[in-house]
Symmetry: C2
Subunit: 187 residues, 2 copies
């Protein structure tokens, strides 16, 4: 559709949630535009991992807890050769994993991560109904099931999850918290 409209002479803006080059198929769309000789420009966005981190105050890297962060799909974690795809140390953020959470967490344990590794699911990050459930590789699946989280969601795995710091509840509502005021107004 982008190609068709552009060939009609229009300027086309393709809006995506997240970042187009991280599990967004932006590379494939660029290949098609190039094949059709249509000029384009790619604008970066807030990938779901970054939105989930800010939502949950989980630092994806931390000088004392994780020197790297890997973004993958939960499907990749369920594949046979996990150890060559996902590092054993460092933070993992798994996209699109809510539906197969129990098997994904079991795969990570089978590949060598400890059962008591902290882990979280962040559901609908950046949206007003965002929710965060934390646990460990052993406990998270049951906690998420009973909390009835909904997609889209990402799984964050690693010591950094235990480094999440809850904000002190504000006594007044400073301007920086206007978004929260909006939520309170709706409730």
């Amino acid at each position: 559709l982008v190609v068709i409209r552009a060939l009609e002479g229009r300027d086309v803006v393709r809006l995506k949630g997240g970042d187009p080059l991280v599990f967004g198929r932006g590379g494939e769309e660029a290949e098609e535009l190039r094949a059709a000789r249509i000029p384009f420009e790619i604008v970066p966005g807030i990938s779901a991992a970054l939105a989930a981190a800010a939502q949950s105050n989980i630092p994806l890297t931390h000088r004392e807890a994780a020197s790297s962060v890997t973004f993958a799909t939960a499907h990749a974690a369920d594949e046979g050769d996990v150890s060559s795809t996902l590092p054993l140390r460092g933070t993992l953020v798994l996209y699109m994993g809510l539906g197969r959470l129990a098997s994904t967490l079991a795969s990570l344990v089978a590949s060598g991560r400890a059962l008591d590794t902290p882990a979280a699911v962040v559901s609908r990050a950046s949206l007003p109904d965002a929710r965060v459930v934390t646990g460990t590789l052993a406990t998270l699946a049951a906690k998420v099931a009973s909390a009835r989280l909904v997609a889209p969601a990402v799984i964050i795995v690693g010591e950094v999850v235990a480094r999440a710091v809850a904000s002190e509840p504000p006594l007044s509502l400073p301007r920086a918290l206007l978004k929260h005021t909006y939520e309170l107004g709706k409730a």
Copy 2:
């Protein structure tokens, strides 16, 4: 300083380049705010890896080329136990690596990546003087040295680098390319 000003009763906005929770020490700052009982909110940003990808049209993931992407510091790649920190497959984006590029690329080869693995350095992504140099783990360091790239820069390693698609040069200048118009105006 953030803590001092907030305790004076001010609303404080701490602006950072990139994303505060990806090599930004946002987690440590949150810990200090919590210790001082100061409410806060974290807003995500465009981490350098995403800016570099959009600048260079390199897809960080691609269904045919990479199912994961790992962000790490170049320092991590130079450490002894690379294989447990950085996966052998998938895309790597290494932050803050321009000064030690040759040794970083050599470490990746020593850890098992092929010499002909495509790799790129993206310098000053998102800025008007951004530049991209591509090569392989074998050739990139010499090419970057002769191109005299300057920091800040990130290194992107993996098959996705070969998937970068140059945009067709525009015959006219559509509105979506206003940024480029600005650059031409300056030149």
